[in-house]
């Protein structure tokens, strides 16, 4: 009894499994994930998953691709064409960061699977279009897009991991960053003079500022490559 028909959908999709995995990850955190629980989440026995998916590995790959779902394109009207490629790229980067951060628990688990899946294609295409429209050559646009997206993802991993870890321990991000600051400040000043001096700057949590800093440097570097630098 209690077969799947009650959901109304004819059969289980691989997408359904990916979504269920992501949902479970957000709800129970890392470690709360198992084939049996994913199966339960979609109303089926664990063994049934192996009809749709080869193994857990493949399920996690599907989930990591599903992470791109819901990343909205920046509104095209909000930004002028031509020379304002900087604003467009900046906005896309900020949206990507915010989107991934909204799934920080999943990011922590899926970080080791960041590889471009089918759902990452559309955002990548948009970024390439912006860059080519700004006058970058094909290879430069490809390299620039790669640099930007690896940076944003690396940034978010570093942001999401302590966030998710602190959450598990029941601490706020502020508490966690204050602890980090104290650890740095307590270091031997003769061996680590700069870490001690800059403990406050290093341990955040001015993450927005830090993101904008990196973004601005990257865009400046790209602008210089592009040849002209004025507005």
């Amino acid at each position: 009894m209690a077969t799947r028909q009650k959901t109304g959908r004819p059969t289980l999709t691989r997408e359904d499994l990916a979504d269920a995995t992501l949902r479970l990850l957000e709800r129970e955190g890392p470690g709360g994930l198992s084939m049996r629980k994913v199966a339960a989440e979609v109303g089926v026995q664990a063994a049934s998953l192996y009809w749709h998916v080869q193994n857990k590995e493949e399920l996690l790959d599907l989930a990591s691709d599903a992470l791109w779902e819901g990343l909205e394109p920046e509104p095209p009207g909000a930004v002028a064409a031509g020379d304002d490629w900087r604003a467009t790229v900046a906005e896309a980067s900020r949206r990507l960061r915010a989107h991934l951060l909204a799934h920080h628990s999943a990011v922590r688990v899926l970080a080791g699977r960041f590889a471009p899946g089918p759902r990452a294609l559309a955002p990548m295409e948009r970024l390439l279009a912006t860059l080519r429209g700004a006058g970058f050559s094909g290879p430069d646009a490809a390299n620039a897009a790669y640099t930007l997206s690896t940076w944003v993802q690396g940034f978010v991993i570093h942001e999401a991991v302590p966030m998710s870890a602190a959450e598990e321990r029941g601490a706020t991000p502020e508490q966690a960053s204050e602890e980090a600051r104290q650890r740095l400040a307590a270091l031997p000043a003769d061996r680590y003079p700069h870490l001690v001096e800059l403990a406050g700057e290093i341990s955040g949590p001015g993450m927005d500022t830090r993101f904008e800093f990196g973004l601005a440097r990257l865009l400046d570097g790209l602008e210089r490559l592009r040849g002209t630098g004025g507005d």
Copy 2:
């Protein structure tokens, strides 16, 4: 019988456990890791690990910190002081990438744990020293170091994951990147014109070129912030 004394070392260190975990990860790949196997690797029963470590989570954190071991400082004499901060930072970045890539299997598993542990302190201190020596303010140096290291780590994750995944399937990196290229080239050209056009550039495997591209952009952006742009 067969107690630990035969190794000569008095007792098991947390460092020993971290090293054993890393060794196991490299040797058996992701999925070949278990408390029982780590215990066997150090010649002990699984239950004994819980004397040294709270749980598997903590063991993996130790291992992710051990990943920084063996990262050699760039030779100070190889690079002139003062204005050649670019060369020093570039060399440090290349060394970090090479070092992490030499542990790509571990990187794939530990990617979701990239947070600064005790062994990451020395490299970070060196980077900060270089940047401050180049004239960056404290906050700028802290932000620049953060940007650089998140980027390198994000880059390496994207490089290591397909590498390690291909290895598991018994394919070479070249085969894997050729497959990726074909998948991109086969996309509908009306929806993804740029991805199709740039399939070759995007799927690599010109990873060295791509790394140098990102590094150059980042350094250019930092140089501009620093104020002057000559040599």
